[in-house]
């Protein structure tokens, strides 16, 4: 089992995601200008400010050569996880429904929050509550017509940091192989740095591949 972590110019959390994935399996970086996914079994689109987030968050990254391959991989049923900026990119690529709008505070917010897993997917098991940080300016999820079955993560009651619709923190595609969320599971993989709850996401996809 091997994870591939996409690296765009302006990515910030790609090394963190790489190291997080390596706690459960092999992992390598994938360069934005390549087309080759190097035979990885799952793709993580990490956080950061791809291409400076100029024009609109995630809007340029979605057209990178590597993303063409990621879209094809996802449409073939390959597991893809978008974290923060990666979630924004996956929405721009129409792999996930909805869009991310500026936080209601219009400010960047960095905070540890409780996130409830409310749906099953390649990357989640309903029923768990995870302590995971958020850090973003543009994380207010908006998708008026979303099928409730596609909501896989919600902020715990009273902890919605950005004004997201129905406290939605993360969603999946209809097939369940593509997931995006604003909280950063890769920053919750070691109790020493705050929490190890984020490992559950990486372990979920591993379990899925093994079975």
């Amino acid at each position: 089992m091997k994870f591939g972590v996409v690296q765009f110019p302006g990515s910030c959390d790609h090394r963190d995601a790489l190291e997080a994935a390596r706690r459960v399996a092999d992992a390598q970086l994938l360069w934005h200008g390549d087309h080759d996914l190097q035979g990885v079994d799952a793709v993580i689109v990490p956080g950061g400010f791809s291409y400076g987030d100029y024009l609109r968050v995630g809007a340029i990254a979605r057209f990178s050569p590597l993303m063409e391959s990621v879209i094809a991989f996802a449409n073939d049923g390959g597991p893809v996880l978008g974290i923060c900026n990666g979630f924004q990119v996956l929405c721009e690529a129409h792999l996930l429904p909805g869009a991310l709008l500026p936080n209601t505070s219009l400010r960047f917010i960095c905070r540890q929050v409780d996130v409830e897993a409310v749906g099953d997917s390649a990357w989640s098991r309903a029923g768990e509550t995870l302590s995971i940080p958020v850090k973003h300016t543009t994380g207010r999820y908006f998708a008026p017509e979303i099928d409730p079955a596609q909501v896989v993560f919600r902020y715990a009651a009273g902890q919605n940091p950005n004004g997201s619709q129905d406290d939605i923190a993360g969603v999946r595609n209809a097939a369940g192989n593509v997931v995006g969320l604003m909280p950063h599971p890769e920053h919750a993989v070691d109790a020493l740095t705050g929490s190890a709850d984020g490992l559950h996401l990486f372990e979920s996809v591993l379990r899925e591949r093994v079975h």
């Binding site: 910030c12 959390d13 963190d16 400010f49 960047f108 920053h187 070691d190 740095t193």
Partner: protein, 720 residues
Amino acid sequence: MNVSTETLPSVEDAIALGLTRDEYALVCDKLARAPNQVELAMFSLLWSEHCAYKHSKKLLRTLPVEGPKLVMGPGENAGAVDVGGGMAVAFKVESHNHPSAVEPFQGAATGVGGILRDIFAIGARPIAVLDSLRFGEPSSGRSRYLLDRAVAGIGHYGNSVGVPTIGGEVYFEGPYETNCLINAMALGIGETEKLVRSAAAGVGNVVILFGASTGRDGIGGASVLASAELGEGDADKRPTVQVGDPFEENKLIECSLELLEKGLLVSLQDLGAAGLTSSASEMASKGEVGIDIDVAKVPLREADMEPFEIMVSESQERMLCVAEPARVDEVLALCEKWEVHGTAIGEVTDTRHMRIFRSDELVGDMPVDALVDDCPLYDLEPEKPSAPLYPAPKATLSGDFDAHAALLALLSSPNIASRRPLFEQYDCMVGSRTVRRPEQADAAVLALAHGGAIGVSIDGSGRRVAADPYTGAIEAVLECAANLACVGAQPLGLTNCLNFGNPEKPHIAWQLTEAVRGLGDACRALDVPVVGGNVSLYNEGTEGPIYPTPVVGMVGELPDPGRAAQSGFAQEGDTIVLVGDFHPVVPASEVAKLRGHALPDGLPPVDLDAVRATHATVRDAVRSGVVHSCHDIAEGGLAVALAECCLLGGIGAEVDPECDERLFGEQPGTAFLLTGAQDDVAGLGRVIGTVGGENLCVGALCWPLGELRTAHAALAPLFP
């Protein structure tokens, strides 16, 4: 070849650029002719206070710069200390005060960008940013505007570039109303053997500029903005403030580190104040060589820029490197991979001259020594002021002693209220090293990949330095070291930023001289070398000088980050011990400020040996793993320290000191509140109480935690 003298500026032009009449005469003497426009522009910047430290260099030479763990000291882009395992941590603090007073968002943002470039210029990967901010009282609309935009600017740059902001401090005092202070500190990590110096070497080697293209932004920033007092019409100086692009910097970091990793460079230097002029001249000076630059090859944002504009532009996100001719193609190919401009613009020569060409035309020719080393250094003329320099603050708390009201007033005062609404705007975790975040412990703690960890803190109290520059500066160092002791860290090195008024005035010269003497004595007492820093003078507005504000940043090592004590009380039933020889006094304290008291003339002396022993006691206890929480007693004294421990831990306490004035007195950096099991910690100091319950009770007086929490959240409404 004769240098172009089409435009020969006058002595008045030189004065308008910040040189004195005598300095202009000295430039003419060094060149054996009058400087042309390009040369005058370059001299005026390199001979500015900001670049030449002409009023402070003699004082800075008195600071201790030797230490067993020192890897790189003053004079390089950043200092560095050995953290074991063949690794070094590089760090430096720098000011961006005047740009931020004129344009706070970009001023603060580019302050972060600039200090990061200093770090990766020596080959260290940036791993953290801290900031130290000073504003006028938040009751002023202008101060609220500066605060809001400066915090947004720091967050914008740090968050986007991908380096965590792990700590900092902010204080609000009237004397900063016009002239706010924005100091940023950055840390990086790299293999000790691979850190690079900035000296150009190898005659015939190629000088390559890479990063952003060069525009008209920031022209004259170092001389016009950074080396003069603020005054009327500063809004007109907004064009001298640079505009930052953290995306460009993110690519520049990766590109620079990969160039170094692949061994393609002879030397590397960032472009900061005074742009190409300063970086090229310093590289030539350190390498004892000359450099030829062709400004026609510099990629420009505006096609019609004059040679002098290209040489002094402070456009951000640019680096200068020297490479052997055979490596140039590889260097440029790597720049292309990272989508940054890379252009060969010059050559290392044996002339010991900086020669500036526009294609075939020689437009400037100056001896490197004259530019970099021959700026006159001035002796200060210090004189203690005969009358108080600063007006008493406006009283906001009645003079009658009422401990209950005083604690609530202190907790809700801008200098003590929770900084959560500020630091939540910063990414504190990218890089996955942050073991202790803001408000978790007195110092930030970063775990290092090769094992072990570092503690970092940044501190400075202008009000106390204003009351007594010598003792106040000592206290700043002690406070910083105390924060490190709380997490079990042994100080390795210190960086400082000296923010003062106009040193040509005798009372400012006195503040500066005394403060540097205090810094030196404190560093010697704690065996901490000064690894580098920055001086920011002329911090005065129309209503007078700022409080003299030496800001110190310190890095320490600790073996086990898991044992780094948290600030907040941890466990019901723990014994609370007061560690340290604590002699708090009310004058110059936060409670004295709230009561509207004028500053005293002098602070009580500090027994440095006793404090050093106290810090060692605390550090050893924390490292042994028996300490459940540790917090130093700082602003607001014992009462505020107790309240903070309760609030951060979410648990009350019962303590029995006398409930009197001494509860609010201060003596920074000298004493600690430490908790643990009674048998483990009772011997470390004086047992004063027990952790537990829903209230903080001091003798018969009790405050419910909810009441304290509401008071402590007083800054939240400033960031709706």
